[in-house]
Subunit: 384 residues, 2 copies
Amino acid sequence: MKDKTFLMIPGPTPVPESVMMEIAKHPIGHRSSEFSAVLERVYSNLKYVFQTENDVFVYTSSGTGAMCAALENLVNEGDHVLSLVLGNFGNRWAKIAESRGAVVEKIEVETGEVIDPEVLRKRLAEDTNKEIKIVTLTHSETSTGAANDIKTLCSIIREHGALSVVDGVTSVCAMECKPDEWGIDVLVSGSQKGFMIPPGLAFLTANERAWKVYEECKHPSFYWDWAAYRKSTRANSTPFTPAVNLFVGLDKALEMIKEEGIENMNARHRRHAMALRKAVKAIGLELVVKEDKNASHSITSIFPPEGISVPDIRKTITKDFDIVVANGQNALKDKIFRMGTLGFVCDRDVISAVGALEATLHKLGYKFELGKGVATVIAELGAK
Amino acid sequence: MKDKTFLMIPGPTPVPESVMMEIAKHPIGHRSSEFSAVLERVYSNLKYVFQTENDVFVYTSSGTGAMCAALENLVNEGDHVLSLVLGNFGNRWAKIAESRGAVVEKIEVETGEVIDPEVLRKRLAEDTNKEIKIVTLTHSETSTGAANDIKTLCSIIREHGALSVVDGVTSVCAMECKPDEWGIDVLVSGSQKGFMIPPGLAFLTANERAWKVYEECKHPSFYWDWAAYRKSTRANSTPFTPAVNLFVGLDKALEMIKEEGIENMNARHRRHAMALRKAVKAIGLELVVKEDKNASHSITSIFPPEGISVPDIRKTITKDFDIVVANGQNALKDKIFRMGTLGFVCDRDVISAVGALEATLHKLGYKFELGKGVATVIAELGAK
């Protein structure tokens, strides 16, 4: 059915109509007082959403841009970077560090697993010469749906003295994430995720410890340069022409986020993800992330039942119900499918998604007690 | 008057309603076949607009992003870069090269002047050891409204053997620019200019000579990396999540550009700029760029009459006529104002702008023959 598509991929995510209406407005001049007023609200509300006293920079770029903005302001050739890798996006940190000429070491885990804090503690304890300068890590790993215990990991990194650089692309707005309180030194995120606006903006916040490392960076990248962004952000401006329409949409979305409250928003994402996980298990499917405590609250990865293919599931749920779910990435392609419950998602959406998934599997010949998933999700969501 | 603003700044520029309507649609998945079809059209039409057989990459970024995408894929520490500087944006090339550790030499001209091909020829002839690896230059210098004779300059650079890297941010779609025919090695542009869509996308095309220099680049930036973009572009995809809504708008805008025809579009910009220049002179104002042949066809910079301030002109024309014109930048702030006739601009817009400028100056007490500017612009536009 035309115009009925509902995105349950890890991004872009659904966008509220009121936000789209703002984006549809003719761009205004980016050096006008009108736009400066938009920026003043946006910058202030972003501090609330990121739960930080530090500046939050907004880049006109994809989320990967903010990841580059982190490492390209910190890494010099030959620096030792430790990357904690849960999947594709953990690996992206490593690749960016390598592109700067860093010596990159990885701690990798099996698909669906998370970093064991004791493994990290042991590795950092061995680094008696403090050669490891930066540790990159992922809060919610979009490729697997696993989520690290960032709070514990960052406290271990802080004890060692290295800088913690965290990918919060699919966690900020969806999962509790407190950079100031937890000692996250650099945190990045992206607009087409929990922020409920289309792709094209990315965010970065850095603390004073990170700024000290920035000061030692020989060649900070011109486009991402923190000093230029700090100066402009504090003047309610931007160093370069920003994606004006997306900023105006962000202004509206942040107003909605403030109204809901960041704690409530996090709690909503947790409820939805946990209800979806229970429902999927009730249908008899296997989750990629086994334990609830290791699960992302924004993306749920699921193995298809034996004999039913991921492409068939994706095609059928889109054709019959206008719901788009994501395939696995790289080696996981056609092995798993991923359902996002990220951003502008209400209880009704989760119920209908589980219903549509049941109908899809039923049509494709999978044998199970029809209605069991929906019954589970309703019961689970009822228990607010 | 609310919602009546007409932007005559060098960008963002006016956006057609049909393009805004496309942008207002809910984002679609960027890995869908639907979006891939959008990209196929966009990539093909961009080759037409850029008049090149080479790939045109689209970055989710501001125009400065594409400038970084040029030099951050070419420059190694210690490389010798010659920057031809007409103003602020010519200087930006130099700053980006410096941020990569290049040894930067500049040829600078007075405000409103352009590069004398003989000066360039002489300097390059002196470089007998071929130390100069890259020459950066600007087609239309947005800060002054001067435009270089890119064709001649690039042929001189080609004779020497250095790589020519051209800022076409406010020239592509507005001024004749033929990279393949003229031997421009790298050309960049931005979306919120002649492309008639809001800010947030930037473009880059590079030829085989540039690719050879890329191969020698030690640390190409991860986000801008040409190899990643070439691979994705040829597969009708993008390496990272693109600003989906802007791409869909671009698809529509490129369709309109093709319908008008790139030669007609260039001719329209020339007519508008030349008519505006004549009208401004008829009113008795002084142009920053003295000779028509050195003038940009997208931006016209004007000195205010004695005794009338730039802020007063800008405030009045906005308040009374909902037209926004730009101030000068840096040292030129409050010394000049700049009028854009870039992108989605028709004859009526140019007539009304001159009329509004006349009314504004009249109100502010400037003595001149009222109607002279409009009469001039009408006569000039009539001579199609």
